[in-house]
């Protein structure tokens, strides 16, 4: 039941020598070689709020189990960004087209992953965001 995540970072001109980093990870349960076996599938929401919205609600049962999160800002507008926070700590901003792929420990029930369309206005239009969660625990809940 293998799920693989491949990241390729490439540039011919950001440094004196080309950058070409390609890495494959097989998504496994915490501390084992057993494959992750659950997923929310790919979800899509349209953000139209400058305040934080819970994208994935933490579940204390997920504490330090293996979970992987993919989030992408699907806006075509490079200036529109989504601020991503975990446990109220800002991680970074996903500008139009940017994605992230991170582990998620859910150290407690406050470790929600939240997103905000921080510079959204009624004239900018919605910011489409897609996301997926790959995880191992048994009764995970998501809240989009």
């Amino acid at each position: 039941m293998a799920t693989t995540a491949t990241l390729t970072l490439a540039s011919t001109d950001i440094a004196g020598d080309p950058v070409n980093v390609s890495k494959v990870a097989t998504l496994t349960k915490a501390g084992s070689t057993n494959d992750l076996d659950q997923s929310t599938g790919l979800n899509r929401v349209h953000l139209r709020s400058t305040s934080n919205k819970v994208l994935l609600a933490a579940n204390a049962e997920g504490d330090n189990l293996a979970a992987k999160v993919y989030i992408i800002n699907k806006s075509d507008d490079a200036s529109l960004y989504v601020t991503v926070t975990i446990n109220a700590q800002t991680i970074g901003k996903l500008y139009g087209g940017d994605f992230l792929f991170i582990p998620w420990s859910q150290t407690d029930t406050d470790a929600d992953i939240e997103v905000a369309a921080t510079n959204w206005t009624s004239s900018t239009g919605d910011i489409p965001v897609e996301y997926a969660l790959f995880h191992e625990d048994t009764d995970f809940l998501t809240n989009a």
């Binding site: 039941m1 293998a2 799920t3 693989t4 995540a5 491949t6 990241l7 390729t8 970072l9 490439a10 540039s11 001109d13 950001i14 440094a15 950058v19 980093v21 890495k23 990870a25 097989t26 496994t28 915490a30 501390g31 084992s32 070689t33 992750l36 076996d37 997923s39 599938g41 790919l42 330090n64 293996a66 993919y70 992408i72 490079a78 200036s79 960004y81 601020t83 991503v84 975990i86 446990n87 700590q89 800002t90 991680i91 970074g92 901003k93 996903l94 500008y95 087209g97 940017d98 994605f99 992230l100 792929f101 991170i102 582990p103 998620w104 420990s105 150290t107 470790a111 997926a132 790959f134």
Partner: protein, 135 residues
């Protein structure tokens, strides 16, 4: 202007009843523009010698609130070994052997410094990393 791309491919033939094949390509640009990022600290490796917390990237050394990107990979081949990643003192998650992570970094220094800290689960582990900067 440099052109740097990050491509993610997620695949599985048996996780779901239909095959999963997802591909996303992002061109790494400066905040709010289509101008390519021009800064990088290059691909690096950090060998750890204890299970204490290390600061990998200091937020005060980077421009606040920009479009920096971070790549991390645990090079261990022992499945139980992991690095715990913290941003601004908040635990994000663990990358176990072979896992990697790629994410934006605000490098926020208002209030809590948004440092990137890592804590290895065992001695003598190696982390591969790369920072693309928006300066």
């Amino acid at each position: 202007m440099a052109t740097t791309t990050a491509q993610l491919i997620l695949t599985s033939t048996d996780l779901l009843s239909d095959s999963l094949s997802l591909s996303s390509i992002a061109t790494l640009t400066t905040a709010g523009s289509s101008t390519g990022l021009t800064g990088t600290e290059g691909l690096g490796r950090k060998k750890t010698s204890s299970t204490t917390e290390y600061t990998l990237f200091d937020a005060s050394a980077a421009t606040d609130d920009k479009a920096h990107k971070i790549y991390l990979k645990n090079l261990s081949t022992t499945a139980s070994e992991y690095f715990e990643i913290q941003v601004g003192g908040v635990v994000i998650g663990r990358i176990y052997a072979g896992d990697w992570a790629f994410f934006p970094w605000s490098a926020d220094t208002t209030g809590t410094n948004c440092d990137i800290d890592i804590t290895p689960s065992a001695t003598n582990m190696t982390l591969e990393y790369m920072l693309f900067t928006d300066e």
